[in-house]
Symmetry: C2
Amino acid sequence: MKLISENKAFGGRQQRFEHHSTVLDCPMRFSVFLPPRAEDNAQGFPALYWLSGLTCTDENFSHKAGAQRVAAELGIALVIADTSPRGDGVADDGDYDLGQGAGFYLNATQPPWKSHYRMYDYIVDELPKLVEAELPLTGRRAISGHSMGGHGALVIGLRNPGRYTSVSAFSPICNPISCPWGERAFSAYLGADRQSWEAYDATVLLSRATERQPILISQGEDDEFLEQQLKPNALATAAEAAGYPLQMERHPGYDHSYFFIATFIEQHLRFHAGYLLRP
Amino acid sequence: MKLISENKAFGGRQQRFEHHSTVLDCPMRFSVFLPPRAEDNAQGFPALYWLSGLTCTDENFSHKAGAQRVAAELGIALVIADTSPRGDGVADDGDYDLGQGAGFYLNATQPPWKSHYRMYDYIVDELPKLVEAELPLTGRRAISGHSMGGHGALVIGLRNPGRYTSVSAFSPICNPISCPWGERAFSAYLGADRQSWEAYDATVLLSRATERQPILISQGEDDEFLEQQLKPNALATAAEAAGYPLQMERHPGYDHSYFFIATFIEQHLRFHAGYLLRP
């Protein structure tokens, strides 16, 4: 992997890398924040993996969330992924909610998507393997994300118990198999068999989960996508039926923007720190 | 003035407005952050005016600096201006350092610039008059900015003692009459008479100042524009010669980016709070 930019921030280092992804079969970029490192820190840092929403790259969270301040204080690295494979040779769609910028963190099975769109494997396996080999990371991981990335964080966390100490999401797409964004993307990427969609639906996965993980969800009550796309009530209802101890917090007046993330990212980082930094 | 967007952030309100500027003779946009307001706060908030750098609009600082968190805590409003007049009828230049996005916070005297480029009057008079009439502001003001906006904050502060409780700047263009950015812009906007440039040069103004104001400057030592464009040593030398108590802080490893601003904006806000919130 090749360092393409580095900025000092809060005593640590905000870095951007490019590498060739074998899983996605294209060059990919991602960002990392490394906290200031004490000389006696030989083992490195635990990491919060961040998954972004529709239309985003790794730069939105890096620039707008203000997470580095708290990550520096806590000694938690941030690994910030892109939202899809990219490039001229990668299938795309004219709209913002399918194709490049809209990978939905799944492994596509349908043409023309299946040759590159394998974001699930990229986030679960390839990216952590790469950064944990190349950067001072302990291998202890938490995962979070926003909107489509909140969906990704919940799905990946629920499907891989024990791989992450804790899972959180801002304004996640909680039940993609029954909302317009999810139905459009899953139809394209996974095909007409709706049963195959359930492997990427947080509400279905949580209702069938046999293990319990710490999960925090923050949702703005004035979110413009709340009712039609995000459907937190479906997830809350499934959690209640399953007796799954979900921490879902609803915030009056907040919308879907990065101003909402910036306001509550400190709470999420401290939530993850409670698990990531446990001896 | 017309509200064009509003987002809740840190319990307060991040707002964007459009209005017709009489001084600039064009429609202008600016952003405001209003802290959460206690019911017994009848008089409103003091305000920090923020001036941005080359190529920026009012949105860069709003999205990237992370200032709202501390402003909300301290009870300080943020008034974030655009960097030039804008629009199809406004003179422009193909380069990033002249014309739209590069107003340099001065009143141009030369064609084709003089009909719109009056950012000095806009920032000193028109904008505060407007927002203090329309928003819950006390009329107590501080001023800060970055790069070209740091130049603007220093020049406007130094030329108007008593109008601002305190002045600060990140990576300011300290001596524009003798750097490439300043020479190009001042030649175009102010003409060939270099003596007329001195009214917009912080180093000249500070060396002639008869009153003392609290001034804080933060400068990254790895700033890519340090030696050729920013020239903090010229200002420091002038301050020392004049016995002007300038607080200039140099930070190893930091560059010219918003990551530098984000790291030290809390210090600047607390510096201004010491004066803005004084009874």
